[in-house]
């Protein structure tokens, strides 16, 4: 009797099937592709009532800007958000995964998630992969123990700080923070400072650009201000639009009508008993 092996979809984790083939291709001289990175300036600071996170919105593939308005502030829990820098796929996957784990934990414990939980889940995952999962994160949130802000490095080490910056534009942003940060800022001052720090990254670092996203988290409340500031709008629009007087030459046209939606109206007589 032959055993039929049905290939079911794999149940999670990384799959290393293609590694041998890719190594062979590498030896033959085919250089590996460049992944989409987020270049990035991401910042966070603790103010009077909670935490403010900020990020720019440019995503690069090599030296080309592939996304002018991407989202780098990821949702982890209703009271916890995480900014990600590094390889875009890694930051998205890691934050999504830990967000789901936190949700399950909330169901299990019937309690609001704590920042320390998210921190431990993230750092243990990153340490497990010894830095190969290239995600550098700024994690911030407010839980029962108060406001927290952490930096998480790709190899799994963490720092707890009152203000933090990460990414290629971190030096520009840190310069702003070091000169203007003080404890006990109010909301307006905090948002302005974060905005200034991100703008420093946007204008001085080539890997960061476009707009500023801000997220304000306080006890029991959060505000996600997408595109809070847009300092790089396109100023020069040509008044003459593109018109194509010489139409494209078409060799073959095939039209496939999609199924029409048929509406059934109750018109007939009622069923007889």
């Amino acid at each position: 009797m032959s055993k039929a092996v049905v290939e079911l979809p794999p149940k999670g984790g990384f799959n290393f099937d293609l590694c041998r083939r890719n190594e062979m291709l590498l030896k033959k001289g085919a250089s590996p592709p460049s992944f989409r990175k987020t270049g990035t300036t991401i910042v966070g600071l603790i103010y009077q009532e909670g935490v403010i996170l900020g990020a720019d919105t440019r995503a690069t593939a090599g030296s080309i800007v592939c996304d002018k308005n991407c989202e780098k502030i990821h949702y982890m829990a209703p009271n916890i958000y995480c900014c990600g820098a590094g390889t875009a796929a890694d930051t998205e996957a890691v934050t999504d995964m830990v967000s789901s784990q936190l949700q399950l934990h909330r169901y299990h414990t019937s309690r609001e998630s704590r920042v320390a939980t998210a921190l431990t889940l993230l750092k243990s995952h990153l340490f497990n992969y010894q830095g190969y999962v290239q995600a550098a994160l700024v994690l911030g949130g407010v839980d029962v123990t108060g406001p927290h802000l952490h930096m998480i490095y790709p190899h799994g080490s963490t720092d707890a700080l009152p203000f933090a910056t990460m990414g290629s534009g971190s030096l520009a942003a840190m310069a702003v923070f070091e000169s203007k940060y003080c404890e006990g800022l109010n909301k307006e001052e905090g948002i302005n400072l974060v905005c200034e720090a991100i703008c420093a990254g946007i204008f001085n670092d080539l890997g960061s650009g476009s707009n500023v996203d801000i997220c304000v988290i306080t006890k029991g409340h959060k505000e996600y201000l997408r595109n809070y500031r847009v300092p790089n709008t396109r100023a020069h629009f040509s008044s003459k639009e593109f018109t194509f007087p010489k139409k494209t030459e078409v060799l073959l046209t095939k039209i496939v009508p999609l199924r029409e939606k048929i509406e059934v109206t109750e018109d007939g007589d009622a069923m007889e008993e």
């Binding site: 979809p9 794999p10 984790g13 990384f14 799959n15 290393f16 099937d17 293609l18 590694c19 041998r20 083939r21 890719n22 291709l25 001289g29 085919a30 250089s31 590996p32 592709p33 992944f35 989409r36 995503a59 593939a61 080309i64 592939c66 996304d67 991407c70 390889t87 875009a88 796929a89 890694d90 998205e92 996957a93 190969y132 999962v133 040509s238 639009e241 593109f242 194509f244 139409k247 494209t248 030459e249 078409v250 060799l251 073959l252 046209t253 095939k254 039209i255 496939v256 009508p257 999609l258 199924r259 029409e260």
Partner: protein, 204 residues
């Protein structure tokens, strides 16, 4: 030589008013030799979702077969078609699974979602999604395509105007790329019909 330049490709998807267009070139090559001039890069997943795969052709075919398999399983379980956003998440998960030994493909997904709202998305080879509201590009001609689309794109184009814009952007970009070209293949999808057109381009 990058692995993406082995076969050569050009893909673009653009959003219009309650419609979208997805277009590709038709060349299949082995480095500098052309071996086919009618290669299909865009495939239909279901009536309202189209998938284009650029990059290494063998990985594109394997990935396409795996995705069709997963979609058919989904149809059996859920008794309906996948929404384009869901399909994009599926592709992203399948690509990220191979994070350390990836498929050398860049997918472009285009579809009509709820209330006939057009959806387009592209990813890098490990599944980092890029959701755009105007256009997405992929392939060896992507740098020229970025430039062409950035200048030719307008908001809310009707299907005929959208077709013209996408075709002109594609043909002018592949003219500046040795590895893609030999005509174009454009699909314009509206809620009522799918118009597939083959374009005449420079055969060099």
């Amino acid at each position: 030589m990058s692995i993406f330049e082995y076969n050569g490709s050009a893909l673009v998807a653009m959003v219009g008013k309650n419609c979208f267009a997805i277009a590709s070139d038709r060349r299949l090559g082995v480095q500098l030799q052309t071996i086919a001039t009618d290669f299909q890069r865009i495939s239909k997943i279901h009536d309202r979702v189209f998938l284009g795969l650029s990059g290494l052709a063998t990985d594109a075919q394997t990935l396409y077969q795996r995705l069709v398999f997963r979609h058919k399983l989904y149809q059996l379980r859920e008794e309906r078609d996948m929404k384009p956003e869901t399909f994009a998440n599926l592709v992203s998960a399948i690509l990220y699974e191979k994070r350390f030994g990836p498929y050398f493909c860049q997918p472009v997904i285009a579809g009509l979602g709820d209330e006939d709202k057009p959806f387009i998305c592209t990813m890098d080879s490990i599944g980092a999604k890029e959701l755009a509201k105007d256009f997405v590009v992929a392939g060896t001609a992507s740098e020229s395509l970025y430039g062409a689309c950035e200048s030719m794109f307008k908001e809310d184009m009707e299907p005929e105007e959208l077709f013209e814009t996408v075709s002109q952007a594609l043909l002018s970009s592949v003219d500046r790329d040795c590895l893609s070209g030999w005509g174009g293949h454009v699909y314009v999808v509206t809620p009522t019909e799918v118009k597939e057109r083959i374009l005449k381009g420079r055969m060099d």
